[in-house]
Symmetry: C2
Subunit: 328 residues, 2 copies
Amino acid sequence: MGKVFGRVSDGVFRQEVPVELRQLRYFVAVAEERSVTRAAARLHITQPPLSAQLARLEHEVGVPLLGRHNRGVELTEAGEELLVHARRLLAGVDAATDAVRRVGQGRTGRLGLAFVAASAWSVLPPLLAQLRADLPDVTVDLVQAGPDEVVEHVRAGRCDLGLVHLLPQPPVDRDLDVAVVDREPLVAVLPRAHPMASGERADLASLAAETFLAPTRTPRGALHPHLVAACRLAGFEPDVREVGLAQTVVAFVGAGLGVSVLPASAGSVCGEGAVAVPLRLNAPVVETALVRRRGSAPSPVTRRFLRLAMSTPEPDVLGPALARRPRS
Amino acid sequence: MGKVFGRVSDGVFRQEVPVELRQLRYFVAVAEERSVTRAAARLHITQPPLSAQLARLEHEVGVPLLGRHNRGVELTEAGEELLVHARRLLAGVDAATDAVRRVGQGRTGRLGLAFVAASAWSVLPPLLAQLRADLPDVTVDLVQAGPDEVVEHVRAGRCDLGLVHLLPQPPVDRDLDVAVVDREPLVAVLPRAHPMASGERADLASLAAETFLAPTRTPRGALHPHLVAACRLAGFEPDVREVGLAQTVVAFVGAGLGVSVLPASAGSVCGEGAVAVPLRLNAPVVETALVRRRGSAPSPVTRRFLRLAMSTPEPDVLGPALARRPRS
DNA sequence: CCTTGCCCATATGTCCGACGTATGGCCAGC
DNA sequence: GCTGGCCATACGTCGGACATATGGGCAAGG
């Protein structure tokens, strides 16, 4: 063991042979078995290489760790000290790999999610509930914003995902990935006192003379174009008045200021004064989608969340949603 | 690298390839350099094996840790997580080896030390002071006891070391190691009013008629036999009265109950009524020694303390003490 | 006292894996 | 389109980790 050259005094000839985890694992086994032979059996190796690793470890640390007898080995004080540290370190390695694995699998982490207000009526709550149930260690940073701001947040990387309604003819965004997570038919939103409010189905064409209330028109705002498109499909050009958010539209309809055409989920917030009535035929569909910046790879949490959103059967008025694009 | 059989999907074929510290060290270097090539240079290896180790680590953890570009690499979220853990673990390994080394070198630990009361006047205080100065992280468990109990504590392994006076003709203890740490001449202890108390030197023979006070006689008690031996050397058999500990002897002498012969250090506790006077000639010497059980190897702290005690020039009335038995 | 048994250390051969050299592919910048 | 930088792959080499075989030392038992 002792080299012919070099003093035995500690520190000399410590030629940078770092400690390895294998040695710590072996040492713990030997310490627990109080025997090299039994430890070797437990480690599924033979005794000589285990002895060699122990000698190596002792050389690296620079102090004897084991007292050898003919009945086995005993720990020196330094060995007892090392045993405590080694157990802690090995447990730390396991915990670390677990933590890293969890992050890598998206089971731990943060998700920045921008969404338009209207989605809080429909897809967002069940999505978040599912997320909390499946991935309790994922923190969601929610940002409510208008449609344009949502897309801008995603483009700028400030949010991982955005939740918006798609336009009737969605533009091709080269830099965005789009995944539809919900489809809703449009419905007529009428004052409770309206003659058509009590009917099973509403005939859009017969509303042609009414004042139509719509959310504010913006480049990415989809509800306004959907309203206009629905009216045109029914054969007339609506008299549109912009009043802000969809929820404001519903409130104004309730106040008798006009009628509107909105996604079906708007019916859940109609309150006292307004009612939602399905359209008689050819009800256009509004798609709600998650958008993601395409440039960089999605974070593990993002991937996981997307998988969740695509695999979850959404409450879909039309029927089972088509899960698009299982993986890129 | 990939075997012909087995899917590439993660998790399959995780055939128990544990993470090694080398990989963590490499990974930290790469993470810090944000470049495999630069990290390889820093690690004094070439780039390909470093890439291989990284791939191996990623395979073992099961999730990608690095995003590769043509300008270098970037950490994934899992990589960032691992970086934190890896730094902590590597620092933990260094701290652990340091701690173990300290224990192994006796720079940290506990020392059980039994001692006789009289040694607290002479060798013990400077020894403890030296210990606190040189090895501040060593805790000393002090046990004061009679000579027999001290030896018994050491024999039973309850104390690492014992500090006792040696008998005039010390018995050969097969199972004990003895290291003399101090030599003191015997002195006469006289009442201040005693005719001989004012002299430079005391003539023991002329005290032959006095009552001699001595510590209680026990098998290992050395002071009583030393007193008797000194008197016999002076040519008379003393009239001895046992009164307990050496400090009691001094107090009784001060009270005028008799005279005594004790190690020179007794003079430092004589107080008002008693004085210590060197003997005229042939003053016998009392040796104070550390005793240790021979059976088992001494603990690192014990070794270190013994080295300290042997190397320290003790305040020796005779002159430089002979350091006996540097190592067994 | 000698034998037996157990356990750890040493010697030696084999093989995997860590490393080095050479090379290819990919992407940015000129 | 060419160049340069960077990472991955291919392949040969060598050290080290492991297995087999053997030696030595101590305790228990004859």
